[in-house]
Subunit: 358 residues, 2 copies
């Protein structure tokens, strides 16, 4: 049964909350939500469709912001970037784009494709490339399915567009990172374009619905959000230390959270590199990438981004099982702790609750 979901002023706040959780500390979604709300108010809701609804050979355009996350929060986008991305993508691929797709459903990148889809009257595919946010270009389902990231279309939303074509995705990553700097640090991107018949094998299906369900659960039950999310609760406590290191373009560091109460002297240390990556307790891994680690404000249930985390914050540390493809050998090599420089074994989070993950 195809139940068609509309992304509108009612559902978008939930989507934004879900995307904030799946950002794993990677960024705020408020600006993205405001842009998406304005876009659907002006242009009408965006239809969320399954791959089955796509005509054969239809072109699907994954899109996102790429570049420095700290700049992304300070740089306003007009919402017209999608038009530029689409025009160049169609020129390069010689066909019409039938639907947009979130490159990743985490953070603002779960919302900007909604803005662009609304502006163009295009549907959004209920899928993404990661089921969350990941920092590297290669860390996407399309890469595992041998779909090339190139040509990567980049635009600054000010009529400047750059297309990067590289021999392989690792080279594309290097060139895109440096080219984003040329365009002002952060830019809108379309990459990993694929055809309708490739979608099922090359994406994380249902991930927009999943983000929406997460967000609805979080909104309905802000105090008991962790349970509602079908997440593993690692610790409820307060931040007693945050260390930050700016290293190779990444905002790295770690945060230490101590449990509440005398009887609960437990401490969890969470390592971060833009995202929360690994949670340690007594030297043992409690959770790690590719599972989503989120720190929710114990007062509001709102996810706290790595750069906003401060001494004294009361938080609930949760872990949400990552998409199934990241548990394969190739998926694990691409997104497991080792891919981020941690020589530790993953401690998988519990399977998702059926009512949330469906």
């Amino acid at each position: 049964m195809l139940v068609r979901t509309r992304l509108d002023a009612f559902s978008l706040p939930s989507l934004a909350r879900g995307c904030a959780v799946l950002a794993a500390g990677g960024g705020d979604t408020e600006l993205g939500l405001l842009m998406a709300l304005r876009a659907v108010q002006r242009n009408g809701p965006v239809e969320l469709i399954d791959a089955a609804a796509l005509p054969d050979r239809a072109l699907v355009m994954p899109c996102a912001l790429v570049g420095a996350p700290t700049v992304a929060g300070e740089r306003l986008f007009s919402g017209d970037e999608g038009l530029v991305l689409r025009a160049m993508t169609e020129r390069l691929h010689g066909g019409r784009v039938a639907a947009l797709m979130c490159l990743e459903v985490g953070g603002v990148n779960g919302l900007l494709p909604v803005v662009w889809a609304a502006r163009m009257g295009l549907p959004l595919l209920d899928a993404d490339g990661a089921g969350r946010s990941f920092p590297q270009l290669e860390q996407h389902a399309m890469h595992l399915a041998a779909i090339a990231a190139s040509p990567v279309v980049l635009t600054d939303g000010r009529d400047n567009t750059i297309v990067v074509c590289a021999d392989d995705d690792a080279a594309a990553e290097r060139l895109v990172r440096r080219t984003a700097a040329v365009l002002g640090g952060v830019c809108a991107a379309a990459l990993y374009c694929l055809r309708a018949e490739e979608v099922l094998a090359a994406t994380v299906a249902g991930s927009v619905s999943h983000a929406l369900a997460l967000g609805q659960a979080a909104t309905a039950q802000p105090s008991g959000v962790a349970a509602a999310l079908g997440a593993t609760v690692l610790l409820v406590g307060h931040v007693i230390a945050v260390e930050r290191v700016s290293d190779g373009g990444f905002a790295s560091g770690s945060a230490t959270i101590r449990g509440f109460g005398r009887e609960d002297a437990r401490q969890v240390r969470v390592e971060m590199q833009n995202e929360y990556l690994v949670a340690f307790e007594d030297g043992a891994v409690r959770a790690s990438v590719p599972d989503v680690i989120a720190l929710l404000s114990s007062e509001t249930g709102v996810p706290i981004a790595t750069e906003e985390l401060r001494y004294g914050h009361r938080v609930t540390i949760i872990a949400i099982r990552g998409a199934a493809l990241w548990s394969t050998e190739a998926g694990s090599a691409l997104t497991g702790p080792a891919a981020f420089g941690y020589a530790v074994a993953r401690e998988p989070a519990a399977e998702r609750d059926a009512h949330v993950a469906s």
Copy 2:
């Protein structure tokens, strides 16, 4: 009458010498000549054609190296860059490239398009964008004719390709300069693509033939080269001072040349920014851009590049009249002394000799 010229092992050395003169001190052509000789030996000669020989609507691809000139001399190109440029250009323009064109006929950029044309079995158009070398992207006839530089296709010849699309040519210049750095400092480029019917109004016609004629004259008469070139001789003397300033990515500076003999106490100071731009004598302008100023070795007749010029060199300073379009108001604003920061009036070089300029 259409006399078809073939660029082959007999004519290429003359073309290389002519391009070296028209580089106006901007670079050496030896490496380009060796590559061109090898390409025509392997793939046969390149046909030099007039615009009239192009089918209607045929796509002409101007191409060149862009980026830092000092890197260009140290960076080997495979000769396959043309294939990459052509493939992406055809993808972007949705048509087949019928002929290549030198973006500028000065220096190595007069020869690399020959290499690429030979490899692909394509003809070379007897025209270019400047009639010489100029350092800025906008300083081309196509820009004056309102043909956009974008999309600018750049490749490093190692399977990495970047396309820059900017709102205007000034923005394209900035983006291309920075993007060339991403690709290693210097790269092969295709830009200002145009259609057959636009060629006459938007290029300097006959400029490859002109370079060839210059080179033949220089080769035939190395001692009296200046006269053979139909050039104005400003001074015959020796270099008594070279000052260099590395400023904003340009190798700037000036050279002072003193006339030979007791009776000839004349001194000419030549200002340079990669190219020789203005020649002063007793504070007055003797020659300037857009005319070509070249310093020929008095021993060999070979043009000396700005970066090779040394104290003690015996040189003949000549000036060759620039292409007619640079004498128009718009052309003069784009390529005259003021465009390079000199608040002086141009002192035009004498009209070209008919036998050389034809």
